[in-house]
Symmetry: C2
Subunit: 282 residues, 2 copies
Protein backbone atom coordinates (compact mmCIF):
# COMPACT_ATOMS: atom_id res chain seq x y z
CA UNK A 1 0.00 0.00 0.00
CA UNK A 2 1.29 3.43 -0.92
CA UNK A 3 0.92 6.52 1.24
CA UNK A 4 1.21 9.72 -0.80
CA UNK A 5 1.15 13.33 0.21
CA UNK A 6 1.00 15.33 -3.00
CA UNK A 7 -1.80 15.90 -5.48
CA UNK A 8 0.62 15.22 -8.31
CA UNK A 9 1.50 11.78 -6.90
CA UNK A 10 -2.08 10.68 -6.31
CA UNK A 11 -3.13 11.90 -9.76
CA UNK A 12 -0.45 9.71 -11.35
CA UNK A 13 -1.50 6.66 -9.36
CA UNK A 14 -5.18 7.21 -10.19
CA UNK A 15 -4.45 7.72 -13.90
CA UNK A 16 -2.57 4.44 -13.99
CA UNK A 17 -5.38 2.56 -12.22
CA UNK A 18 -7.96 4.11 -14.53
CA UNK A 19 -5.91 3.24 -17.60
CA UNK A 20 -5.92 -0.36 -16.39
CA UNK A 21 -9.72 -0.19 -16.44
CA UNK A 22 -10.09 -0.21 -12.68
CA UNK A 23 -13.12 1.26 -10.94
CA UNK A 24 -12.00 3.64 -8.21
CA UNK A 25 -13.63 3.48 -4.77
CA UNK A 26 -12.97 6.44 -2.50
CA UNK A 27 -13.34 6.84 1.24
CA UNK A 28 -12.67 10.43 2.32
CA UNK A 29 -11.83 10.66 6.05
CA UNK A 30 -10.30 12.97 8.62
CA UNK A 31 -8.34 10.01 10.02
CA UNK A 32 -8.75 8.69 13.57
CA UNK A 33 -10.22 5.67 11.87
CA UNK A 34 -12.69 3.46 13.71
CA UNK A 35 -14.95 0.54 12.80
CA UNK A 36 -17.27 2.96 11.01
CA UNK A 37 -14.54 3.97 8.58
CA UNK A 38 -13.44 0.37 8.19
CA UNK A 39 -16.97 -0.58 7.17
CA UNK A 40 -16.79 2.09 4.44
CA UNK A 41 -13.46 0.67 3.27
CA UNK A 42 -14.98 -2.82 3.26
CA UNK A 43 -17.89 -1.59 1.13
CA UNK A 44 -15.42 0.15 -1.20
CA UNK A 45 -13.40 -3.06 -1.52
CA UNK A 46 -16.53 -4.96 -2.51
CA UNK A 47 -17.78 -2.43 -5.03
CA UNK A 48 -14.59 -1.27 -6.74
CA UNK A 49 -11.20 -2.47 -7.97
CA UNK A 50 -8.95 0.17 -6.46
CA UNK A 51 -9.58 1.72 -3.07
CA UNK A 52 -8.31 5.17 -2.12
CA UNK A 53 -8.62 6.51 1.42
CA UNK A 54 -7.90 10.17 2.07
CA UNK A 55 -6.81 11.33 5.50
CA UNK A 56 -7.15 15.08 5.81
CA UNK A 57 -8.34 17.15 8.74
CA UNK A 58 -9.96 19.84 6.64
CA UNK A 59 -9.59 23.29 8.22
CA UNK A 60 -12.37 24.91 6.16
CA UNK A 61 -15.06 22.81 7.83
CA UNK A 62 -14.10 23.83 11.36
CA UNK A 63 -15.46 27.03 12.83
CA UNK A 64 -13.77 29.36 15.32
CA UNK A 65 -13.54 27.69 18.71
CA UNK A 66 -14.07 24.21 17.30
CA UNK A 67 -11.79 21.26 17.93
CA UNK A 68 -9.41 21.33 14.93
CA UNK A 69 -6.28 21.68 17.09
CA UNK A 70 -7.09 18.77 19.36
CA UNK A 71 -8.75 16.60 16.69
CA UNK A 72 -7.05 13.19 17.04
CA UNK A 73 -4.38 12.41 14.41
CA UNK A 74 -3.10 8.86 15.05
CA UNK A 75 -1.47 8.73 11.63
CA UNK A 76 0.55 5.52 11.98
CA UNK A 77 -2.36 3.56 13.41
CA UNK A 78 -4.57 4.91 10.60
CA UNK A 79 -2.24 3.85 7.79
CA UNK A 80 -1.73 0.49 9.49
CA UNK A 81 -5.51 -0.01 9.63
CA UNK A 82 -5.80 0.93 5.94
CA UNK A 83 -3.06 -1.52 5.04
CA UNK A 84 -4.72 -4.31 6.99
CA UNK A 85 -8.03 -3.52 5.30
CA UNK A 86 -6.59 -3.91 1.80
CA UNK A 87 -6.60 -0.22 0.85
CA UNK A 88 -4.56 0.43 -2.32
CA UNK A 89 -3.42 3.96 -1.59
CA UNK A 90 -3.74 6.48 1.22
CA UNK A 91 -3.82 10.12 0.17
CA UNK A 92 -2.72 12.23 3.12
CA UNK A 93 -2.10 15.76 1.85
CA UNK A 94 -0.81 18.64 3.93
CA UNK A 95 -2.98 21.72 4.38
CA UNK A 96 -0.56 23.52 2.03
CA UNK A 97 -1.21 20.92 -0.68
CA UNK A 98 -4.95 21.32 -0.43
CA UNK A 99 -5.06 25.08 0.16
CA UNK A 100 -1.85 26.55 -1.30
CA UNK A 101 -3.22 30.08 -1.11
CA UNK A 102 -6.29 31.68 0.34
CA UNK A 103 -9.25 29.61 -0.83
CA UNK A 104 -11.81 31.91 -2.43
CA UNK A 105 -13.84 29.34 -4.36
CA UNK A 106 -16.65 27.77 -2.38
CA UNK A 107 -19.24 25.16 -3.20
CA UNK A 108 -22.36 25.92 -1.23
CA UNK A 109 -25.45 23.73 -1.08
CA UNK A 110 -28.04 26.23 0.03
CA UNK A 111 -30.95 25.30 2.30
CA UNK A 112 -29.64 21.80 3.10
CA UNK A 113 -26.56 23.31 4.79
CA UNK A 114 -28.53 25.59 7.07
CA UNK A 115 -30.70 23.60 9.51
CA UNK A 116 -29.63 20.99 12.12
CA UNK A 117 -25.83 21.06 12.52
CA UNK A 118 -25.62 24.01 10.12
CA UNK A 119 -27.20 26.25 12.75
CA UNK A 120 -24.47 25.85 15.35
CA UNK A 121 -21.74 25.30 12.77
CA UNK A 122 -22.15 28.05 10.15
CA UNK A 123 -19.85 27.44 7.20
CA UNK A 124 -19.30 23.80 8.18
CA UNK A 125 -21.13 22.22 5.24
CA UNK A 126 -19.73 24.78 2.82
CA UNK A 127 -16.28 23.58 3.95
CA UNK A 128 -17.34 19.94 3.65
CA UNK A 129 -18.83 20.41 0.17
CA UNK A 130 -15.81 22.38 -1.03
CA UNK A 131 -13.23 19.87 0.20
CA UNK A 132 -15.25 16.96 -1.18
CA UNK A 133 -15.47 18.71 -4.57
CA UNK A 134 -11.70 19.15 -4.46
CA UNK A 135 -11.04 15.56 -3.41
CA UNK A 136 -13.45 14.20 -6.03
CA UNK A 137 -11.65 16.23 -8.70
CA UNK A 138 -8.29 14.90 -7.53
CA UNK A 139 -9.24 11.24 -7.00
CA UNK A 140 -11.91 11.04 -9.75
CA UNK A 141 -13.65 8.10 -8.07
CA UNK A 142 -16.44 6.02 -9.56
CA UNK A 143 -17.88 5.57 -6.06
CA UNK A 144 -17.42 7.53 -2.85
CA UNK A 145 -18.46 6.06 0.47
CA UNK A 146 -20.01 7.98 3.36
CA UNK A 147 -21.54 6.90 6.67
CA UNK A 148 -25.18 7.45 7.53
CA UNK A 149 -23.96 8.63 10.94
CA UNK A 150 -23.32 12.04 9.34
CA UNK A 151 -26.81 12.22 7.87
CA UNK A 152 -26.79 15.87 6.89
CA UNK A 153 -23.34 15.58 5.34
CA UNK A 154 -24.61 12.70 3.19
CA UNK A 155 -27.60 14.72 2.02
CA UNK A 156 -25.49 17.80 1.25
CA UNK A 157 -22.93 15.77 -0.71
CA UNK A 158 -25.57 13.81 -2.61
CA UNK A 159 -27.25 17.05 -3.62
CA UNK A 160 -23.94 18.63 -4.65
CA UNK A 161 -23.11 15.64 -6.82
CA UNK A 162 -26.55 15.75 -8.45
CA UNK A 163 -26.70 19.53 -8.94
CA UNK A 164 -23.15 19.79 -10.31
CA UNK A 165 -23.41 16.59 -12.41
CA UNK A 166 -20.32 15.13 -10.77
CA UNK A 167 -19.46 11.86 -12.49
CA UNK A 168 -19.54 9.57 -9.45
CA UNK A 169 -21.97 7.70 -7.25
CA UNK A 170 -22.34 8.37 -3.54
CA UNK A 171 -22.74 5.15 -1.55
CA UNK A 172 -24.21 5.52 1.93
CA UNK A 173 -23.30 2.88 4.51
CA UNK A 174 -25.10 2.18 7.79
CA UNK A 175 -24.01 3.72 11.07
CA UNK A 176 -21.72 1.38 12.99
CA UNK A 177 -22.37 1.28 16.72
CA UNK A 178 -20.62 0.10 19.86
CA UNK A 179 -22.26 -2.87 21.62
CA UNK A 180 -24.24 -0.49 23.83
CA UNK A 181 -25.55 1.45 20.84
CA UNK A 182 -23.26 4.49 20.83
CA UNK A 183 -22.51 5.49 17.23
CA UNK A 184 -18.81 5.15 16.42
CA UNK A 185 -17.13 8.54 16.15
CA UNK A 186 -13.59 9.84 16.32
CA UNK A 187 -14.90 12.33 18.88
CA UNK A 188 -15.92 9.57 21.34
CA UNK A 189 -12.26 9.69 22.38
CA UNK A 190 -12.99 13.00 24.12
CA UNK A 191 -15.36 11.29 26.64
CA UNK A 192 -14.29 10.33 30.15
CA UNK A 193 -15.69 7.17 31.75
CA UNK A 194 -18.81 8.78 33.20
CA UNK A 195 -19.55 10.70 30.00
CA UNK A 196 -19.01 7.57 27.93
CA UNK A 197 -21.66 5.86 30.04
CA UNK A 198 -24.14 8.74 29.55
CA UNK A 199 -23.46 8.75 25.80
CA UNK A 200 -25.65 5.65 25.36
CA UNK A 201 -28.63 7.94 25.92
CA UNK A 202 -28.33 9.39 22.39
CA UNK A 203 -29.23 6.16 20.66
CA UNK A 204 -31.62 5.24 23.47
CA UNK A 205 -33.55 8.44 22.73
CA UNK A 206 -33.70 7.61 19.03
CA UNK A 207 -34.86 4.09 19.81
CA UNK A 208 -37.52 5.50 22.12
CA UNK A 209 -38.83 7.63 19.25
CA UNK A 210 -38.86 4.61 16.98
CA UNK A 211 -40.84 2.61 19.54
CA UNK A 212 -43.39 5.40 19.99
CA UNK A 213 -43.79 5.73 16.22
CA UNK A 214 -44.27 1.96 15.89
CA UNK A 215 -46.96 2.30 18.55
CA UNK A 216 -48.75 4.87 16.40
CA UNK A 217 -47.53 8.16 17.85
CA UNK A 218 -46.86 10.47 14.89
CA UNK A 219 -46.69 13.91 16.52
CA UNK A 220 -43.20 15.38 16.27
CA UNK A 221 -43.61 17.60 19.32
CA UNK A 222 -44.54 14.70 21.56
CA UNK A 223 -41.76 12.49 20.18
CA UNK A 224 -39.21 15.23 20.71
CA UNK A 225 -40.24 15.86 24.30
CA UNK A 226 -40.05 12.12 24.95
CA UNK A 227 -36.50 12.06 23.53
CA UNK A 228 -35.61 15.09 25.58
CA UNK A 229 -36.67 13.28 28.73
CA UNK A 230 -34.31 10.44 27.95
CA UNK A 231 -31.35 12.71 27.22
CA UNK A 232 -32.03 14.64 30.42
CA UNK A 233 -31.39 11.52 32.46
CA UNK A 234 -27.77 12.69 32.15
CA UNK A 235 -26.84 15.84 34.02
CA UNK A 236 -23.87 16.29 31.69
CA UNK A 237 -25.68 16.21 28.35
CA UNK A 238 -26.44 19.62 26.88
CA UNK A 239 -28.93 19.28 24.05
CA UNK A 240 -28.08 21.28 20.92
CA UNK A 241 -31.03 20.08 18.87
CA UNK A 242 -33.54 17.28 18.53
CA UNK A 243 -35.02 17.51 15.04
CA UNK A 244 -37.59 15.58 13.10
CA UNK A 245 -37.37 16.50 9.44
CA UNK A 246 -38.17 15.35 5.92
CA UNK A 247 -35.20 13.12 5.03
CA UNK A 248 -34.79 14.71 1.60
CA UNK A 249 -35.41 18.41 2.19
CA UNK A 250 -34.43 18.59 5.90
CA UNK A 251 -37.53 20.70 6.50
CA UNK A 252 -39.14 20.27 9.90
CA UNK A 253 -42.33 18.21 9.92
CA UNK A 254 -45.09 18.22 12.52
CA UNK A 255 -46.53 14.82 11.69
CA UNK A 256 -44.39 11.77 10.98
CA UNK A 257 -45.03 10.54 7.44
CA UNK A 258 -42.88 9.29 4.57
CA UNK A 259 -39.09 9.22 4.78
CA UNK A 260 -38.23 10.91 8.04
CA UNK A 261 -34.88 11.81 9.59
CA UNK A 262 -34.76 11.97 13.36
CA UNK A 263 -31.50 13.61 14.33
CA UNK A 264 -29.93 14.98 17.45
CA UNK A 265 -26.79 16.75 18.55
CA UNK A 266 -25.54 17.21 22.08
CA UNK A 267 -22.55 18.50 23.94
CA UNK A 268 -21.17 15.99 26.40
CA UNK A 269 -18.05 17.18 28.19
CA UNK A 270 -15.51 18.17 25.55
CA UNK A 271 -17.34 16.25 22.82
CA UNK A 272 -20.06 17.35 20.45
CA UNK A 273 -21.89 14.16 19.48
CA UNK A 274 -24.51 13.53 16.80
CA UNK A 275 -26.70 10.58 15.94
CA UNK A 276 -29.75 9.87 13.81
CA UNK A 277 -32.14 7.32 12.42
CA UNK A 278 -34.06 7.36 9.17
CA UNK A 279 -37.52 5.81 9.13
CA UNK A 280 -39.96 5.21 6.31
CA UNK A 281 -43.38 5.66 7.85
CA UNK A 282 -46.61 4.91 5.97
Amino acid sequence: MEVVETIEQIRKIISKAKSAGKKIGFVPTMGALHQGHLSLIEAAKKQSDFVVVSIFVNPTQFGPGEDIAKYPRPFDADTEACKNSGVDVVFAPTVEQMYPGKNITWVNVEKLSEPLCGKSRPGHFRGVATVCAKLFNIVRPDFAFFGQKDAQQVIVIQRMVADLNMPLEIVVCPTIREKDGLAMSSRNKYLNTAQRKDAVLLYAALQEAELFIAAGEHKSSLLKSQMEKILKISKQIKIEYISIVDARTLEAIDEIKGKVLIALAVKLGAARLIDNIVLDVE
Copy 2:
Protein backbone atom coordinates in the same frame (compact mmCIF):
# COMPACT_ATOMS: atom_id res chain seq x y z
CA MET B 1 -21.17 15.51 -36.51
CA GLU B 2 -23.65 14.56 -33.83
CA VAL B 3 -25.96 17.01 -32.06
CA VAL B 4 -27.16 15.67 -28.72
CA GLU B 5 -29.52 17.09 -26.17
CA THR B 6 -29.27 14.86 -23.13
CA ILE B 7 -26.57 14.49 -20.50
CA GLU B 8 -26.84 10.72 -20.81
CA GLN B 9 -26.10 10.86 -24.56
CA ILE B 10 -23.12 13.16 -24.29
CA ARG B 11 -21.68 11.13 -21.41
CA LYS B 12 -21.79 7.99 -23.58
CA ILE B 13 -20.10 9.73 -26.50
CA ILE B 14 -17.39 11.20 -24.24
CA SER B 15 -16.74 7.86 -22.54
CA LYS B 16 -16.26 6.23 -25.92
CA ALA B 17 -13.86 8.95 -27.09
CA LYS B 18 -11.92 8.75 -23.83
CA SER B 19 -11.73 4.96 -24.06
CA ALA B 20 -10.18 5.40 -27.49
CA GLY B 21 -7.49 7.51 -25.82
CA LYS B 22 -8.68 10.78 -27.32
CA LYS B 23 -7.98 14.11 -25.65
CA ILE B 24 -11.20 16.09 -25.30
CA GLY B 25 -11.28 19.76 -26.25
CA PHE B 26 -14.32 21.71 -25.06
CA VAL B 27 -15.74 25.03 -26.18
CA PRO B 28 -18.67 26.10 -23.98
CA THR B 29 -20.87 28.69 -25.71
CA MET B 30 -24.30 30.29 -25.52
CA GLY B 31 -24.63 29.88 -29.32
CA ALA B 32 -25.02 32.79 -31.74
CA LEU B 33 -21.58 31.77 -32.89
CA HIS B 34 -19.26 34.30 -34.49
CA GLN B 35 -15.62 34.37 -35.58
CA GLY B 36 -14.56 34.60 -31.95
CA HIS B 37 -16.17 31.26 -31.16
CA LEU B 38 -14.81 29.76 -34.35
CA SER B 39 -11.29 30.75 -33.32
CA LEU B 40 -11.84 28.85 -30.07
CA ILE B 41 -13.00 25.81 -32.02
CA GLU B 42 -9.95 26.11 -34.25
CA ALA B 43 -7.68 26.19 -31.21
CA ALA B 44 -9.52 23.18 -29.77
CA LYS B 45 -9.07 21.29 -33.05
CA LYS B 46 -5.32 21.95 -32.95
CA GLN B 47 -4.85 20.97 -29.31
CA SER B 48 -7.17 17.98 -28.91
CA ASP B 49 -8.47 14.88 -30.71
CA PHE B 50 -12.17 15.27 -30.07
CA VAL B 51 -13.94 18.62 -30.01
CA VAL B 52 -17.16 19.22 -28.10
CA VAL B 53 -19.08 22.48 -28.39
CA SER B 54 -21.90 23.18 -25.97
CA ILE B 55 -24.69 25.54 -26.91
CA PHE B 56 -26.67 26.56 -23.85
CA VAL B 57 -28.12 29.92 -22.95
CA ASN B 58 -27.62 29.53 -19.22
CA PRO B 59 -30.44 31.14 -17.23
CA THR B 60 -28.52 31.27 -13.94
CA GLN B 61 -26.03 33.82 -15.29
CA PHE B 62 -28.71 36.32 -16.35
CA GLY B 63 -30.08 38.75 -13.83
CA PRO B 64 -33.59 40.21 -13.65
CA GLY B 65 -34.17 42.60 -16.56
CA GLU B 66 -31.28 41.19 -18.57
CA ASP B 67 -31.55 39.95 -22.14
CA ILE B 68 -32.12 36.21 -21.75
CA ALA B 69 -35.46 36.27 -23.62
CA LYS B 70 -34.13 38.11 -26.66
CA TYR B 71 -30.66 36.55 -26.62
CA PRO B 72 -30.13 35.36 -30.23
CA ARG B 73 -30.59 31.61 -30.80
CA PRO B 74 -29.79 30.86 -34.46
CA PHE B 75 -29.55 27.14 -33.75
CA ASP B 76 -29.38 25.80 -37.31
CA ALA B 77 -26.72 28.31 -38.35
CA ASP B 78 -24.76 27.45 -35.20
CA THR B 79 -24.75 23.70 -35.76
CA GLU B 80 -23.92 24.28 -39.44
CA ALA B 81 -20.94 26.45 -38.41
CA CYS B 82 -19.81 23.74 -35.97
CA LYS B 83 -20.06 21.10 -38.66
CA ASN B 84 -18.06 23.19 -41.11
CA SER B 85 -15.42 23.77 -38.44
CA GLY B 86 -14.88 20.08 -37.84
CA VAL B 87 -16.55 19.87 -34.43
CA ASP B 88 -17.16 16.25 -33.37
CA VAL B 89 -20.25 16.74 -31.24
CA VAL B 90 -22.53 19.59 -30.25
CA PHE B 91 -24.10 19.33 -26.81
CA ALA B 92 -27.24 21.45 -26.78
CA PRO B 93 -29.15 20.62 -23.62
CA THR B 94 -32.53 22.02 -22.66
CA VAL B 95 -32.87 24.08 -19.49
CA GLU B 96 -34.70 21.09 -17.97
CA GLN B 97 -31.71 18.85 -18.68
CA MET B 98 -29.30 21.20 -16.98
CA TYR B 99 -31.57 22.32 -14.14
CA PRO B 100 -34.14 19.55 -13.59
CA GLY B 101 -35.20 21.02 -10.25
CA LYS B 102 -34.43 24.16 -8.35
CA ASN B 103 -30.66 24.53 -8.37
CA ILE B 104 -29.44 25.02 -4.81
CA THR B 105 -25.75 24.21 -5.28
CA TRP B 106 -23.62 27.16 -6.29
CA VAL B 107 -19.95 27.53 -7.04
CA ASN B 108 -18.88 31.01 -6.04
CA VAL B 109 -15.46 32.52 -6.66
CA GLU B 110 -15.42 35.25 -4.06
CA LYS B 111 -13.68 38.59 -4.62
CA LEU B 112 -12.98 37.97 -8.34
CA SER B 113 -16.73 37.86 -9.05
CA GLU B 114 -17.49 41.16 -7.38
CA PRO B 115 -15.76 44.07 -9.19
CA LEU B 116 -16.11 45.19 -12.85
CA CYS B 117 -19.08 43.39 -14.48
CA GLY B 118 -19.92 41.80 -11.13
CA LYS B 119 -21.09 45.17 -9.80
CA SER B 120 -23.86 45.67 -12.31
CA ARG B 121 -24.53 41.95 -12.73
CA PRO B 122 -24.75 40.48 -9.21
CA GLY B 123 -24.90 36.69 -9.37
CA HIS B 124 -23.64 36.63 -12.96
CA PHE B 125 -20.26 35.02 -12.28
CA ARG B 126 -21.76 32.67 -9.72
CA GLY B 127 -24.03 31.46 -12.53
CA VAL B 128 -21.11 31.24 -14.96
CA ALA B 129 -18.92 29.32 -12.50
CA THR B 130 -21.74 26.96 -11.59
CA VAL B 131 -22.71 26.12 -15.17
CA CYS B 132 -19.06 25.68 -16.16
CA ALA B 133 -18.54 23.32 -13.20
CA LYS B 134 -21.59 21.36 -14.38
CA LEU B 135 -20.45 21.29 -18.01
CA PHE B 136 -16.90 20.31 -17.05
CA ASN B 137 -18.30 17.43 -14.97
CA ILE B 138 -20.46 16.31 -17.88
CA VAL B 139 -17.94 16.69 -20.71
CA ARG B 140 -14.80 15.92 -18.64
CA PRO B 141 -12.55 17.81 -21.07
CA ASP B 142 -8.76 17.84 -21.04
CA PHE B 143 -8.84 21.43 -22.32
CA ALA B 144 -11.55 24.08 -22.26
CA PHE B 145 -11.27 27.16 -24.47
CA PHE B 146 -12.35 30.67 -23.51
CA GLY B 147 -11.94 34.04 -25.19
CA GLN B 148 -9.93 36.88 -23.67
CA LYS B 149 -12.84 39.16 -24.65
CA ASP B 150 -14.58 38.01 -21.45
CA ALA B 151 -11.56 38.80 -19.30
CA GLN B 152 -13.24 38.57 -15.91
CA GLN B 153 -14.97 35.32 -16.85
CA VAL B 154 -11.59 33.84 -17.77
CA ILE B 155 -10.07 34.87 -14.45
CA VAL B 156 -13.03 33.54 -12.46
CA ILE B 157 -12.98 30.19 -14.29
CA GLN B 158 -9.21 29.82 -14.03
CA ARG B 159 -9.40 30.43 -10.30
CA MET B 160 -12.30 27.99 -9.88
CA VAL B 161 -10.36 25.29 -11.73
CA ALA B 162 -7.27 25.90 -9.58
CA ASP B 163 -9.09 26.17 -6.24
CA LEU B 164 -11.28 23.11 -6.85
CA ASN B 165 -8.47 21.06 -8.45
CA MET B 166 -10.55 20.44 -11.56
CA PRO B 167 -8.67 18.04 -13.83
CA LEU B 168 -8.52 20.22 -16.95
CA GLU B 169 -6.58 23.08 -18.46
CA ILE B 170 -8.15 26.41 -19.35
CA VAL B 171 -6.85 27.76 -22.64
CA VAL B 172 -7.35 31.48 -23.26
CA CYS B 173 -7.56 32.67 -26.86
CA PRO B 174 -7.14 36.24 -28.11
CA THR B 175 -10.11 38.55 -28.69
CA ILE B 176 -11.22 38.45 -32.31
CA ARG B 177 -12.15 41.84 -33.74
CA GLU B 178 -14.00 43.23 -36.72
CA LYS B 179 -11.86 45.12 -39.23
CA ASP B 180 -12.63 48.39 -37.47
CA GLY B 181 -11.57 46.99 -34.10
CA LEU B 182 -14.94 46.17 -32.52
CA ALA B 183 -14.62 42.99 -30.47
CA MET B 184 -16.81 40.21 -31.85
CA SER B 185 -19.83 39.56 -29.64
CA SER B 186 -23.20 37.92 -30.05
CA ARG B 187 -24.65 41.10 -28.61
CA ASN B 188 -23.33 43.24 -31.50
CA LYS B 189 -26.49 42.07 -33.28
CA TYR B 190 -28.50 44.40 -31.06
CA LEU B 191 -26.81 47.51 -32.57
CA ASN B 192 -28.44 49.63 -35.28
CA THR B 193 -26.27 51.21 -37.97
CA ALA B 194 -25.48 54.41 -36.06
CA GLN B 195 -24.75 52.53 -32.84
CA ARG B 196 -22.58 50.05 -34.71
CA LYS B 197 -20.52 52.99 -35.95
CA ASP B 198 -20.14 54.42 -32.44
CA ALA B 199 -19.15 50.99 -31.10
CA VAL B 200 -15.66 51.38 -32.55
CA LEU B 201 -14.98 53.86 -29.75
CA LEU B 202 -14.63 51.03 -27.18
CA TYR B 203 -11.48 49.65 -28.72
CA ALA B 204 -10.33 53.13 -29.72
CA ALA B 205 -10.44 54.12 -26.04
CA LEU B 206 -8.40 51.04 -25.08
CA GLN B 207 -5.87 51.79 -27.81
CA GLU B 208 -5.63 55.37 -26.60
CA ALA B 209 -4.76 54.10 -23.12
CA GLU B 210 -2.13 51.79 -24.58
CA LEU B 211 -0.58 54.69 -26.52
CA PHE B 212 -0.49 56.90 -23.44
CA ILE B 213 1.12 54.12 -21.41
CA ALA B 214 3.71 53.54 -24.13
CA ALA B 215 4.43 57.26 -23.94
CA GLY B 216 5.14 56.91 -20.21
CA GLU B 217 1.83 57.91 -18.63
CA HIS B 218 1.21 55.48 -15.76
CA LYS B 219 -1.47 57.27 -13.72
CA SER B 220 -4.73 55.32 -13.81
CA SER B 221 -6.89 58.37 -13.13
CA LEU B 222 -5.46 60.26 -16.08
CA LEU B 223 -5.70 57.25 -18.39
CA LYS B 224 -9.32 56.68 -17.41
CA SER B 225 -10.31 60.27 -18.01
CA GLN B 226 -8.62 60.12 -21.42
CA MET B 227 -10.61 56.96 -22.26
CA GLU B 228 -13.79 58.59 -21.02
CA LYS B 229 -13.24 61.49 -23.42
CA ILE B 230 -13.05 59.11 -26.35
CA LEU B 231 -16.18 57.18 -25.35
CA LYS B 232 -18.05 60.46 -24.88
CA ILE B 233 -17.57 61.26 -28.55
CA SER B 234 -20.74 59.19 -28.88
CA LYS B 235 -23.94 60.66 -27.47
CA GLN B 236 -25.42 57.17 -27.29
CA ILE B 237 -22.74 55.46 -25.23
CA LYS B 238 -23.50 55.20 -21.52
CA ILE B 239 -20.38 54.24 -19.60
CA GLU B 240 -20.89 51.53 -16.98
CA TYR B 241 -17.27 51.34 -15.92
CA ILE B 242 -13.73 52.04 -17.05
CA SER B 243 -11.39 50.06 -14.79
CA ILE B 244 -7.66 49.62 -14.51
CA VAL B 245 -6.90 46.65 -12.29
CA ASP B 246 -4.28 44.07 -11.41
CA ALA B 247 -4.84 41.34 -14.03
CA ARG B 248 -4.67 38.55 -11.44
CA THR B 249 -6.53 39.97 -8.43
CA LEU B 250 -8.81 42.44 -10.24
CA GLU B 251 -7.96 45.00 -7.57
CA ALA B 252 -7.90 48.61 -8.74
CA ILE B 253 -4.45 50.09 -9.15
CA ASP B 254 -3.48 53.75 -9.15
CA GLU B 255 -0.19 53.36 -10.99
CA ILE B 256 0.25 51.09 -14.01
CA LYS B 257 2.80 48.41 -13.23
CA GLY B 258 3.09 44.67 -13.91
CA LYS B 259 0.27 42.71 -15.55
CA VAL B 260 -2.58 45.16 -15.90
CA LEU B 261 -6.14 44.68 -17.16
CA ILE B 262 -7.82 47.71 -18.69
CA ALA B 263 -11.48 46.91 -19.06
CA LEU B 264 -14.64 48.78 -19.88
CA ALA B 265 -18.36 48.18 -20.16
CA VAL B 266 -20.92 50.44 -21.80
CA LYS B 267 -24.56 50.48 -22.71
CA LEU B 268 -25.12 51.31 -26.35
CA GLY B 269 -28.77 51.19 -27.39
CA ALA B 270 -30.10 47.76 -26.45
CA ALA B 271 -26.62 46.29 -26.14
CA ARG B 272 -24.32 46.06 -23.15
CA LEU B 273 -20.83 45.79 -24.59
CA ILE B 274 -17.51 45.00 -22.93
CA ASP B 275 -13.93 45.05 -24.10
CA ASN B 276 -10.47 44.92 -22.56
CA ILE B 277 -6.76 44.75 -23.10
CA VAL B 278 -4.06 43.19 -20.93
CA LEU B 279 -0.68 44.86 -20.80
CA ASP B 280 2.54 43.84 -19.13
CA VAL B 281 4.18 47.08 -18.05
CA GLU B 282 7.67 47.25 -16.57
